[in-house]
Symmetry: C2
Subunit: 758 residues, 2 copies
């Protein structure tokens, strides 16, 4: 691949982006698409719906970018909520002022808010150094015949072009130092400010029911008592002074529902068939060798039928059967709840397992019935499944990599020879097709990983997203980076990883060789995906089908989407990883990445302003993932640099790199010591202060009242309401509530309409 | 090495053992050695000192073995305390009865108590299968000329002798299954019973001050307040209802003492010199350009001198300076203490760090002054140092391995040729010398690792021993096993580990090739070290020097030793590891190992009965190390077996081994989930029950009284007592108390004599 191919690729991408963005700027002005592009505004009841039909509506305009940029803080505060303000300020202003804003913000976009500006800053530094220091050194690294610029291979811009033992390698080493130091300094301040924000979020936000609540699982089964009574007894005994009340969790998984339905059906059928068999059985007069015996069998059978029916009718027993071994327990103070959640409760660690409860909207009800004893094996099983999935995924990736080596393709499919000889087609095939195919395959990953996270048994939606986020992150880094580097270039198998010592050197060779792939990946996956994100292709299509084919005209959105952290954070982190890894090897990639991050900043800003609704908060739990990945990227960059300096025979540079690796790891350890506990647990000091404040202001009673209706597992359909009105049967309210599909405005009415199950 | 060489080696070792043991049985009867061999009895005031001079004293007898075996439980209970009983019962009787005994036992030897019988059981099974199934299969594995038995090479007993693709390999696979299953079943019951014992130990033992106490570190420095006041304010504010009182920790490290001495000296000298300078300065009449200024300087200097002196004299300020940022905080209930220890206290995780306090005798006072912020870096530094030490240690090991290859030695030192040609010498050199040299080098390891653990900053003696135990364990497994396997045989460098995939196959080749080394290692290091252990060579030598050269005749022991867990557990685990690893490769090793474990059982039983004193208890914290190492050994055995089956081309056996590996790992994970939390934290349920019991019986007041004198950092020498009598200066009592050097009888008087620092 040479410069002209790169430019072709860049051109196509820029064109695609421009077209999509123009299209977006037109589409967003159409009143029919308002549900797609202004879901958030509709949800908060702030959208203008009266657009006159005019010519302007069909002219593309950059007004949304301008608006995203121009809107003042006060306007943003009024229109888009505090989150947008926080998002903005994290870029422009100093950190301290953010904390002030946090005090009364809904505190959404906690992580992406800092991730993007952080990426922009660090890659601005990297791009400047890369383009003005490393790139010239690489380009003039060897005495050779300089070709016309557009025909220059991309290789001459990589470190492969630097002579062995060149004295100029110190520039690479220096770049390494500057990059690492600035990345670490920025990272430290980010971590510190996010930790502060998290604390401010906890203390300043309105009273959160989850702070008073503990989720208890693995309640031991006892023959005499219901689960509910066991919970009451246990907490009255050991947490008498602080225990308030509790609320059982009922079985509600889909499988569970199917099973209980099947069970009921079976019992009804069995009862009916036994009845049918019984009557003639008792009245039969045929030859009967052992009459008494057959009578006994029948009568005992009758008894069981009676018992079963009694079971079936007795609502208490049915209620008991549906309760599962989990409950939300409410405490009088936040401190008592956090103590109950963190201290080991029982001498058998597999019983009375306590956890901090997730926020009410964050609870993933379908997973709460899972027996605690299954969780560890589920975790291992999903881990294995995820790894297997990663390995199966190698097949498309290998195929994609085949495309970059056209000769092989021509050998395999001889009929393609004619087409591939045309210059434009071959440039397209090498420069653009591989990454498009890869992206299409990658689209299957998030749903799969989300499924794994569900099976794993997360109790909260944010936990599920976090788990999926980690899995997708490992997956993308493995499949996009490692597999491409190693299958495409030197070695075709996993054999590379069997030789630990040579990995740095092999990476140092393989990464620059794959420069063209990474460049096109950034262009296609990065830029184009942003354009797709802003276009909201899938909702747009749905909307179109609904309007044109189904002719539904309702304006209310089916489901206001929540921000897809689990796909966006891994993507941003992957690009960060690519950026760091390639920073000294292929500095040409850095400007493209910087453009990507800036574009991403505008796009996500717009999306958060207009499209996504924040339904639950993770409270910044994503940040440690970001931090760890960044540190990993830095160390990986340094290890590759070690390989490079080894290959280029520059022992001095190697010698200087080793302390850098150690310092980076020490820095990481320090951050882990200093900040990570805040993200794992709540501090006693903070909670006690909050409790005191609320007690003094007399708010506690009000909070206790709220607690009663905070966690509601079932919602009522009108049909259920009728049923529950006519009989006191609780089974009707089985439709599990899914906050992902509920508008914020709807919530309150549902709270009042829900059956309280206490 | 052939069978005759092995027999030579075994013969030498048996002879050495017999001589040493006979010597022991004579020496132990000499009244002059009573302090060496009956330290424990003297300490508990139960030794008989009047032995008449008779002939019997100089005749070796196996009486101690008989006695160790014969003594009834009741006698053991009366003589040796409950620990010996527990030790015995863990072998003979069922598990449940142990728990009953635990109820009123001092609960010492918690781990070795179960480790040894466990090892005996599992290796009895292994030895039987190994000798009667695997050994014949190996021996008759290949058609070849059978030599005279004593001249058979050891190799024909290893798996190397089995033909490729042999059908008999299923016996090895079956052995693997039987061994793994029996090991896991035994391990599970051990873990369960030990967990029960730990709980019983906590609940049934007399009130333990450490349960009421929390160690607070990283108390923030404030300009207005002393540390003591800060602690009081903080805990009065946040733990008002349960806070009792606290006790500051004072600086007492050796370096600290030297530094403060130097500081004092400096201040005295400075004061003196300033005084000397001052007087003439004020009275000088020479040419003085700026008189006022110089006067100012002098006067301000005088003021600082005055201030310094005031500081020096003001005892409050001196007291404040000596306090360090750590304190023991006492709570009203056990539950409150455990809550304070487990919950994150401050929003800054580097401040107000709480930990469960160690037992009073277990506190390692010299490490408490270490600033908390240093700990993480100390841990990393010691880890690095330990790894460096492990690598440096390669040098002697490589040399030792050179000895097993005599040709090389002859080439290097040609003058040895004559001697080495003699058969006996060569057998001695190959069979015995290498492991003796290795053992001698290994003796330097425990003190070094102990030093690392001290530098690491453990707050308790048991924690220090546990940390040293882990380090020594990794060290021995690495240096005895891996380095010997790989340096001695195929590959001379660490290069092996650069190729991950081939490791199983290489191990499968290398381990049987080193069979002779492992056999002699078990003989020399195992058997002989037990004989040395029972002989107590070093104390015996000290005693001899004291009596013969220094002519001291006092009978009281300098220091009754505590059981050296940190050296004995790694040794036992290493032999277990060797046993598992070699079980199917070199089954010849198993009988020797079994003999070792049985002998160890008697020896340690005798030592615990007579020699060692238990001063502090870890409460079974060593067991998870044992468990994990055993699981590691099992998995390692299976991986090597995979390599073997791969080399011998038996895909069926390989296929059957893989599920075994997975099941073993799942079993480990289950045990970790089920039992490990009990070893990390105390359960709320248990502690609250204990608190209630004590409250109801009215014992609490008594316990609070005990708490006041429980933790005492300084002891008084008579000199100090005089000083503290004449002035109220607390500095005198600087000699830090070391429970390792204190007799149990002494303790009480010291408690009363100590200065209470509250």
């Amino acid at each position: 691949m040479n410069i002209s191919a790169l430019l072709t690729s860049a051109g196509i991408n820029i064109a695609v982006c421009l077209i999509l963005i123009s299209l977006y700027s037109i589409l967003r002005k159409q009143p029919s698409n308002v549900t797609v592009y202004f879901g958030r505004r509709i949800a908060s009841g702030r959208s203008r719906r009266t657009d006159p039909f005019c010519f302007e509506r069909f002219v593309p305009s950059p007004s949304w970018i301008v608006r995203a940029w121009v809107t003042t803080e006060e306007d943003l505060l009024a229109i888009g909520g505090m989150d947008a303000v926080v998002f903005l300020r994290s870029l422009i202003c100093s950190r301290i002022s953010i904390c002030w804003f946090c005090d009364f913000s809904p505190f959404f976009c906690f992580v992406s808010l800092c991730l993007l500006p952080y990426s922009i800053r660090i890659f601005a530094i990297a791009a400047i150094i890369g383009c003005f220091v490393v790139l010239p050194v690489n380009y003039y690294g060897q005495k050779r015949q300089y070709q016309e610029f557009p025909l220059e291979s991309l290789e001459v811009f990589t470190i492969l072009n630097v002579q062995e033992g060149s004295k100029w390698l110190w520039t690479h080493c220096l770049t390494l130092y500057i990059l690492t130091c600035s990345a670490c300094v920025l990272l430290y301040f980010e971590y510190r400010s996010i930790a502060k924000m998290r604390l401010a979020h906890i203390t300043e936000s309105p009273p959160n029911p989850s702070h008073f609540t503990v989720l208890v699982r693995a309640i031991p089964w006892s023959a005499e008592d219901t689960y509910s009574n066991s919970v009451k007894k246990f907490f009255m005994k050991y947490h008498e002074s602080s225990y308030l009340f509790h609320q059982m969790v009922h079985r509600a998984g889909t499988i569970q529902k199917l099973m209980s339905d099947a069970e009921k059906m079976y019992m009804v059928l069995k009862a009916a068939s036994v009845e049918r068999n019984c009557t003639p059985g008792l009245m039969q007069c045929g030859p009967c060798t052992d009459h008494t015996n057959s009578f006994k069998v029948l009568s005992s059978e009758l008894e069981t039928v009676k018992e079963e029916r009694a079971d079936f009718v007795d609502m208490d027993l049915v209620g008991r059967k549906k309760e599962c071994a989990a409950a939300f327990v409410f405490f009088k103070t936040r401190y008592a709840a956090v103590v109950a959640a963190q201290v080991l409760q029982s001498a058998n660690p597999m019983l009375w397992v306590t956890d901090s409860a997730p926020e009410p909207h964050d609870v993933y009800w379908s997973n709460l019935w899972i027996p605690y004893g299954q969780l560890w094996i589920r975790k291992i099983a999903t881990l294995m499944a995820a790894i297997a999935f990663m390995l199966v995924f190698l097949i498309p990736v290998t195929f994609v990599q085949g495309l970059t080596q056209l000769e092989q393709l021509q050998q395999t499919f001889p009929f393609l020879k004619g087409i591939l000889k045309k210059k434009f087609v071959s440039q397209l095939a090498t420069g653009y097709l591989p990454s498009v195919i890869l992206i299409l395959f990658l689209y299957t990953v998030p749903p799969t990983m989300m499924l794994f996270s569900v099976v794993e048994g997360s109790i909260s939606r944010s936990g599920r997203k976090k788990s999926a986020c980690c899995k997708i992150l490992y997956f993308t880094i493995w499949n996009v980076f490692f597999v491409n580097v190693f299958t495409g270039s030197v070695i075709r198998q996993l054999r590379v990883f069997s030789s630990v010592k040579d990995i740095p050197a092999q990476l140092a060779n393989a990464v620059p060789a794959q420069a063209s792939f990474f460049l096109t990946y950034v262009l296609s996956s990065g830029w184009a995906s942003l354009a797709c994100e802003v276009m909201q292709l899938f909702p747009l299509l749905c909307n179109l089908i609904k309007r044109v084919i189904l002719r539904i005209k309702s304006d209310s959105p089916d489901a206001a989407l929540s921000f897809p952290y689990h796909t966006e954070i891994p993507r941003l982190l992957l690009f960060g990883f690519l950026g760091f890894t390639c920073s000294i090897l292929v500095p040409l990639i850095l400007p493209f990445l910087l453009v990507y991050f800036v574009l991403a900043y505008f796009v996500y800003r717009n999306q958060i302003l207009n499209v996504y609704v924040s339904k639950y908060e993770s409270g910044g739990l994503f940040w440690p993932i970001v931090h760890n990945t960044t540190i990993f990227s830095l160390v990986f960059m340094q290890i590759i640099a070690l390989g490079v300096f080894g290959l280029r025979r520059s022992p001095v540079s190697s010698g200087f790199t080793i302390p850098l690796v150690i310092c980076t790891l020490l820095f990481n350890e320090y951050c882990r010591q200093r900040f990570h506990p805040i993200f794992k647990n709540h501090a006693a000091e903070v909670l006690i202060d909050m409790d005191r404040r609320d007690e003094e202001s007399g708010k506690m009673e009000e909070i206790y009242q709220q607690l009663h209706s905070a966690y509601y597992q079932f919602t009522l359909t009108p049909h259920d309401l009728f049923k529950s009105g006519s009989s006191s049967n609780h089974e009707g309210g089985d439709s599990v509530r899914d906050p992902e599909n509920v508008k914020p405005g709807e919530e309150h009415s549902q709270v009042n309409g829900s059956i309280k199950i206490v």
